[in-house]
Symmetry: C2
Subunit: 344 residues, 2 copies
Amino acid sequence: MSSKTTTNNMASGTRRVTLKTIAEMTGLSLSTVSLSLRGGTTLKQETRDKVNEAAKALGYVPDRAGVRLRTGKTNVIALVLDGSEDSIDFARNMIQGIGHAIAGTRYHLTVIPEFERHNSTETINYILSNRTADGVIITHTGPRDPRVQMMIDADFPFVSHGRTEFYTPHAYHDFHSEDFAALAVRRLAGKGCRDIMLVIGDDSTTNYHNIVTSYRKEAARAGIEARVLEGTAKLSPAEMRSVGMELAADPNRPDGIISDSEMRTIALVGGLTEGGVTLGREVQLIYKQTSGILPTLFPQMDSIREDVFAAGGELTRLLLRRIDGDPVKQLQTLAEPQPHWRSG
Amino acid sequence: MSSKTTTNNMASGTRRVTLKTIAEMTGLSLSTVSLSLRGGTTLKQETRDKVNEAAKALGYVPDRAGVRLRTGKTNVIALVLDGSEDSIDFARNMIQGIGHAIAGTRYHLTVIPEFERHNSTETINYILSNRTADGVIITHTGPRDPRVQMMIDADFPFVSHGRTEFYTPHAYHDFHSEDFAALAVRRLAGKGCRDIMLVIGDDSTTNYHNIVTSYRKEAARAGIEARVLEGTAKLSPAEMRSVGMELAADPNRPDGIISDSEMRTIALVGGLTEGGVTLGREVQLIYKQTSGILPTLFPQMDSIREDVFAAGGELTRLLLRRIDGDPVKQLQTLAEPQPHWRSG
DNA sequence: CACATGTGATGCAACGTTGCAATTCTAAAT
DNA sequence: ATTTAGAATTGCAACGTTGCATCACATGTG
């Protein structure tokens, strides 16, 4: 089939190709080969060529364990994966984004799933004391996230998906939640809504605070009523669905809703429609979109998109630069919300 | 807070705890400590206790690089993550399942995201030639999956999510697709359907074949018309949605539909309802459910559940046993579909 | 007392890599 | 021919672990 298959398959029998192999092949010493491979400038061009040639021919790849033992560099980045279901297919998108960014580098990705929310200080402690990765990516970051504190204290490379309120700066990439909320409010106001509601789970993330604050400010500016339905993080989808049904039956219900969670949006929509409300007519709804699910089901519904795949890529690039020693102040980026207004 | 926090945080300054540290502390030799820690029976009980005590006090954890270099054991299992979007939140569930199963063991999980479908022979080749993991989990397995062939040939520990048609047995865990199809057909027939349709993407997995075969057989047995809408794997959600709308407009449309993909189900439902069809009345629909999305949106809809979290756990347990040398014939399990009939 | 037997503990080499210190080589200067 | 500066290469130790071969010691046997 493919004409350029790698030949060093060495299913069995063939021994691993190490620096020694190259040394024997080229007649040079082991140290010279090592030095040459990582670009020793004191070497003759001729020998460097010879080494490179042999390395390529043999398909040499440095042994991870050897490098790690000697240098302490693991060439691993760790993703602490929050168990949250809010954002559909978050894990896949994030991981694909990371994978895309480390393709071609020497890094591997290890994923550490988290079960109990924000119990992950143990995870971080483990990584820190066992130096099990060169850097860490955390998500669902809280304003005074203890994990961040730990890694700052240990001066350990990490990047957070989400900002914090710590004085000491650190690398982060975050969704611009303030703009998200402001955009959503303005859109609803523009559609004639006078009494809107923000449905949000107090999940102790920084984004939660940012959204609420911005939401309130922008609603005040537009001169419309702005309620907040808090604490929905604890509700099961079924319970959230009931909330939707109650809202539908409520004569005093809002005429516009903003939701920052896909899962909650789905439950809410389920309840509202079940309760006889036609979305886009009696009630306007805007949600934060991170997967293709909702646009597929309700193409006419307004949404504001966060690209999790891109976020994974950006987080990884920031982290790698942090590992390479770049100053953290240069490693702080925000992702602009992408509004998708479907109708008028 | 927690009274039993680990004390060996060693943020900086403190040196790593190694066998040497314990040796110095106990006054024993390095070899003795090593031997003792992995249960040398020739040692005096007294010294063994002394070593264990010291190890615990210091919070000793064997260095992964050291072990790996010496023994070749990586203590890593690799998940090759298919990019497919069919099953919503598949990645998160699978990873959590694996994470749950390796908790407390020495294993770490590395995830290798796959972009181009079934181009993953390169991935496998890389793992094989660089011995970068002790075992591999693959998903979306095809009947003559080249990845399986490679790993069988190399006698490398792996487990596939999905069966194959290879003569040589290998470890697998699979959803019982035949039962899924049969259950679904019988349910539709029982609801009075006479002309049903299977919507399925020819995604070259083994499950595809199993489902179609079982579907046809069971429909014949029930004496009802059975069509198959193939090749839907290539369709985008938007296109799939159009298919739903066309079906809705078709006077000759089926009275029952079976779908094996959540994503396609969503698109289909979107199109059908947009086209004016009321599900559960004019058309019955049964889908394979792997996430909470659809039950939240349409609680009244029949579904048959595959527990991906449990699958991840089972795959891991099988793989670990395979790594430990258990005969593969004992490492083949099936997961029974769990029907959730909502109405009468 | 010399010797075998066993029990318990240890020294040493090796896995593959890197970085420093030390060495050889080349060619120019004396 | 001898010295010497610099260029080019190499030996050695170390990272933390394991397993084999060895060793020290006490006890029992002839």
